[in-house]
């Protein structure tokens, strides 16, 4: 079960992710990311406080945009990961490639 919500808090766009992401629904995450990108925003945050599980299919979606974000000067941050899910990001070294914060305040303050 995956729920995605796009929230605009100008100038930030927040994608709220809840539930589990695997190969059956990662396309939904991709579509939601594209919807956020289409707004032309330069500030994208992903709220993962409700994210219980993510497989490579979901992680691959985030990774596939990193290069574009760099080229286009888009700030991309993730916050609210549980310790267990954060471990998975660390196994892949994604914590070195994506700015990850404990909560929204920390993400906005950086």
């Amino acid at each position: 079960m995956l729920e995605l919500k796009h929230i605009e808090e100008s100038p930030n766009h927040i994608l709220e992710v809840q539930g589990e992401i695997d190969a059956s629904n990662s396309v939904q995450l991709d579509e939601a990311m594209q919807e956020v990108i289409r707004t032309g925003t330069k500030n994208i945050l992903v709220d993962c406080s409700g994210l219980e599980y993510i497989s490579s299919a979901g992680l691959g979606v985030f990774m596939s945009y990193l290069e574009d974000f760099k080229e286009q000067g888009i700030s991309f941050k993730i916050y609210g990961l549980s310790e267990k899910v954060f471990e998975v990001f660390k196994i892949l070294g994604l914590d070195q490639l994506i700015p990850i914060f404990t909560d929204k305040d920390a993400a906005l303050a950086s």
């Binding site: 589990e20 497989s55 490579s56 691959g60 267990k84 471990e87 070294g93």
Partner: protein
């Protein structure tokens, strides 16, 4: 509890796989974080098989078995599709995956980093992928 899980080849079955593995690991003396990682590694193998070897044909299935003792947990994934031997695939560097903007390859990195041993064999048309985690 059945001795193995029969998993039909469609990605919507992956949630069922996670539930099954969670219940099999319930009594294991390992952390919740490690349980999640083991479930993830097994799911990555199964997702690869379902998508690449069986083309998401739900009339086909794979089997997942879990055995454990005081020293290790062994996951065995059996199928009768085109052999998908992850040992033959080069593990890409994470930076390559980003540079090429590709969405694949991460699963294999995860499986190899999480598990201590990966074995693959084929006999009489059945492929067996064994994933071993020392505890």
């Amino acid at each position: 509890m059945p001795d193995y899980l029969k998993l039909y080849c469609q990605t919507s079955e992956l949630a069922e796989l996670r539930k099954y593995l969670q219940s099999r690991l319930e009594s294991s003396p390992i952390s919740d974080a490690l349980k999640l990682q083991l479930i993830l590694a097994v799911e990555e193998v199964c997702a690869n098989l379902i998508i690449h070897s069986h083309n998401c044909d739900k009339s086909e299935h794979i089997q997942v078995l879990v055995s454990q003792n005081q020293k290790e947990i062994v996951f065995e994934i059996r199928d009768q599709g085109n052999a998908f031997n992850i040992l033959e695939y080069n593990t890409p560097e994470i930076k390559e995956v980003v540079g090429e903007k590709r969405k694949g390859g991460l699963g294999i990195i995860l499986i190899k980093k999480i598990m201590d041993e990966i074995k693959f064999s084929t006999a009489n048309g059945t492929n067996i992928c064994s994933l071993v985690k020392k505890i």
